[in-house]
Amino acid sequence: MTQGILQADGLCKSYGRKTVLENLSLTLRPGKIYGLVGRNGAGKTTLLGCLSGQNPFQKGSVTYDGAPVWENQDALDHICFSRELPVTLMGSRNNLKMQNYLDAAALFYPNWDPDYAARLLDLFHLEKKSKVYALSQGQRSMVTILIALASRAPLTILDEPAAGLDVVAREQFYRLLLDDFAQTGRTFVISTHIIEEAASVFEEVLFLDAGKIVVSGPVDELLAQFYAVSGLAEEVDRACQGVTVLSARTIGRRKEAVIRGTPAPEADVDRSPLGLQQVFVALCGHGAEQI
């Protein structure tokens, strides 16, 4: 009886001498929408490729319901990893038609829903016969979203689906995703670097930084741990007693700090919760040069 738990343990992946994933472990439980958040180049696509058996890795294991995912068709039949369509293929422009990708998806995904796919094609105003190189980035994103949703795979992974879309299309995508989830309850993993607007869609979030998962868990539990405090410098210091200070800025007598933990209640400071994006920047924005 499948439960649908995807487990990665000690995952190590490097390209040549460059280590992308280092001793990475995570657990994805069924029936949730996960957000995978990370900076550009953090290795989100690589990680997702390894989780879905599409990219090999050097060390560690990835299992679905206890069985390894690599080269395991039974496990892979439950997984869909929809990536961005390549603009170039074998050195020249991608002459394949959208139809080719849709046909391949229809053939290989056991749960493919052709009616759903047709409805989405209509909704996105896409032409099946268009060649991939002629599509705009937004249209290519829409095709990957279409394939992911219509695959009806129990574990569906989308790699930066919002990246090529304008704000209206992004809103449309979030609504489609939530509707699908409300209907099917299947597991979704969405990787993104557009964090704040997507935060309300995720039930749990994973931060990928420096090759490891530095944070994983329900979004509201995470956000409840962080505060931004501001006020007189001495008061802010009082508020920060015994908690982890992630960043602090002093302008004259005023100090602002981002802390992890509850600020001391007697301190006379303004305290406010942080959004997911701010938490991410506070935790993973290290090394960003102040211009």
Binding site: N55, E71, N72, L76, C80, M90, G91
Partner: protein, 213 residues
Amino acid sequence: MLRTIRFLWRNCSPVFLLFAGYLAVMMVYAALGGGTREDYDLLWSYYKMSPMVAFLLFFSFETAAGGSWLNLALSTCCTRRRFFWANQLFLLLAALVLTAILGLCVMLPGWMGWDWVVPFLSLSELPLFFLSTAAVGELAHLLGLLYPHHPKLGILCTTLGILLWLFATVWNALSTLGVFASPFPLLSVLILGGLSLAGLLGSARITGAAAVR
């Protein structure tokens, strides 16, 4: 497995149909009085070249299979093993079918009583043709797999493929002079068999570690 073969067929059926059309045109040409040894009209060289066109067809779709269709299949969560064996099976079947079709085209003038027609291939050469097609296919597939990662090695394989094609052309010329009496000249079989095996093993190795781009 069946799904994967359907996938391969769908992607290369246009080329096969094109070739079928080509052969149909050649048969019409033969029926209308072409295909004689003394003919040097426009279509005669195309008629004589028919087996070579088959090689080209094989070359083009097996390169594509390695270069882009493998990637497409893997990106829809197909396993490497499944794709590899489906491709091998498809290659084998396609080579057999092509050999059979060409064999039919060779025998057709005889059945229809067009005795002015010189067949572009002799029946005894069909097994060798089958082996050549297989070798071309295997090498082309390897080339397709190598090209994205090692363009230089890919070029080496292209050269080998072209050499094979030239060899086949030369052999074909020799055969019309009756040089090959037996259907399985040992040297040719060894070379073609060896090339096929090399292609197959190379493809297996690369496919087994393929990452989706």
